[in-house]
Amino acid sequence: MHSIGEEMIRTVLAAGALALLAAGPAAAQTTLTVSGFGIAQDQFRRILYAPFEAQCGCKIAVEAGNSAERLAKMEARRANPEIDIAVLSDADAMIARTKDLIEPIDVAKLSNHARLYDIAKDPIGGNLAVGYTFYNTSIVYRSDKVKIESWKDLWKPELKGRLALPNITTTQGPLLLFMTDRAFGGSGGAFTTAIDRIAEVKPNVVTFYERSAQLLQLFQQDEIWAAPLGRFNWANIKKLNMPLAWATPTEGQTGGINVMVVTKNGKNRELALRFMDMWLSTDIQTKLAMELVDSPANKEVVLPADVADNLTFGPETVNAVRLIPPADVIANRDAWLAGWNAKVAR
């Protein structure tokens, strides 16, 4: 016969063993921390994070916010990084590079790397980033009021009081400088020609916008007739049901790439690469494109025409995008800001 005490001990031991079993895998479950943009996180969770979690038996934690905030956080945690992968614009990735916050990606381990468009394979050099999406930037205009065939057409007098331009602090700001500079015969990365020209057109400018969402309202209220903006707004612009057109300027269109980077001395390097690889796969890139979350960087993605029109899609479009040389961003970013603040912002 067992005494009650013995019975109790046995129960306690069994419970303890169970608890250990339960805690074991949980303790082993790693968390992959992704620093990303705040937009479309619901779709990302459904299309990308949840399937990846099921596959790896790990957890994905997302730190969302704007690039500058997230970069500042990465810098503050340099010695003991909590972020494994960060998603940034190409320009911000360059900043992360100069601040030595990221490390080269072993692209041989990315089975989908060869499927990417060439401009996405190594956008900032040194294999420090991989592009997962890009966009083209051009001018949206009221086709019933004005004709835009060149970046110079933004200087047309009929756009007086009807023009919105991106502020230098946005991602689109430097892109405007880049195309303006080229259109008016400037050269090099300092964009002084562009800054002078924009200072000249300032009286015509209704506002230098900070968020592209603002432009929808301005078009709708008939405040503006033309504004340079990224293709990612196009689906929403079309919903306004107004005579708005996407310009194909003679000087070409510009644009940008959003990239993934790996934090220097990150704790989950292997897992980070697996996550990147999955994101770049034809399957995931197609799903994200079908929901208009991101234009595919994977050239094997096939899309129906109506979806493709809302995105930056197809080799012709992608090859026509003129990107600011990354080295120019680093060399001149402060000069652009200073020039803009001295001549345009005042």
Partner: protein, 274 residues
């Protein structure tokens, strides 16, 4: 009041501790951040901040709009408060209710409403053109005027409310007395009403000025990047440029500005009261 002083001290202790940990300490950290130079304490960050012409312009615009908004609210506020105090008590309650109503609506919603009202095809422009006061649409949106209008609308209720309670405490007969003794309306207001309600004006003025210079949504939405104020500049420096030092400099300037205004208003009020 308390038999035992310790009871009084015990009662203020929780609030004091909370303020120390949640307010005084962070503010000190913030201010000291702006005073750190390469070799210890210095005003280096301030010198560099004010060396930028754009920053000077933004500073003066903030001061100018703060003062204009406060003055406008004071003038309009006294008139409105007078009218409210002189209505029957039942009507007074309703009027004050109406006054508080906009305070219950989110400032974001209120500010966005101004975009529609001040727009090219908005109410104001329709009225101006309908009355023949303007040939074409007048540009109001993204100008200092728009920010001024938005801020006055935002803070006027605060001024009126403080002035109503100040005027309610005004002895009932002083104005009649002044009038009987031969003072004109202006003289009555300047020599009798103003000195007796100056506390209300100091509180209202400080609230409105501090609110106006530290408002973010109104200048961001109605002014945009062409009409930067210190608060929108602060956001830009910190959130876009990652320039925390300029951010703490601006924050310190705003604290000093608000405090100085309060001191100045009290000085002026004390001077008038003598």
């Amino acid at each position: 009041m308390f038999q035992d002083r310790r009871i009084g001290l015990a009662l203020v202790l929780p609030a004091t501790l909370f303020l120390l940990a949640g307010f005084v300490l962070p503010v000190l950290v913030l201010l000291s951040g702006s005073l750190q130079g390469p070799g210890g304490w210095s005003f280096d960050a301030y010198v560099r901040f004010f060396a930028v012409p754009l920053h000077q312009e933004v500073f003066w615009r903030t001061v100018r709009l703060g003062v204009l908004v406060t003055l406008t609210c004071a003038v309009v506020g006294y008139a409105a408060a007078f009218a409210i105090v002189n209505t029957a008590p039942s009507a007074r309650g309703k009027l004050i209710g109406l006054l508080i109503l906009p305070l219950m609506i989110s400032p974001v919603a209120r500010t966005y409403a101004w975009i529609v009202i001040l727009g090219r095809t908005g109410l104001v422009n329709q009225a101006l053109q309908g009355l023949g006061l303007a040939d074409g649409p007048v540009r109001l949106l993204f100008t200092e005027t728009a920010v001024f209008i938005g801020l006055v609308q935002l803070f006027l209720p605060l001024m009126v409310l403080t002035l109503v309670s100040a005027l309610e405490n005004l002895p009932a007969d002083v104005m009649s007395a002044a009038r009987v003794l031969g003072a004109g309306w202006i003289q009555t207001f300047v020599r009798v009403v103003l000195p007796l309600t100056r506390e209300g004006l100091v509180i209202g003025g400080t609230l409105v000025f501090t609110g106006a210079v530290t408002a973010y949504i109104t200048p961001a939405v109605l002014g945009g990047s062409r009409v930067l104020m210190l608060e929108t500049l602060l956001y830009q420096r910190v959130s876009v440029a990652g320039d925390i030092v300029s951010g703490s400099v601006i924050a310190a300037i705003l604290v000093v500005m608000s405090y100085t205004t309060n001191v100045l208003l009290r000085r002026i009020a004390a001077g008038r009261g003598r």
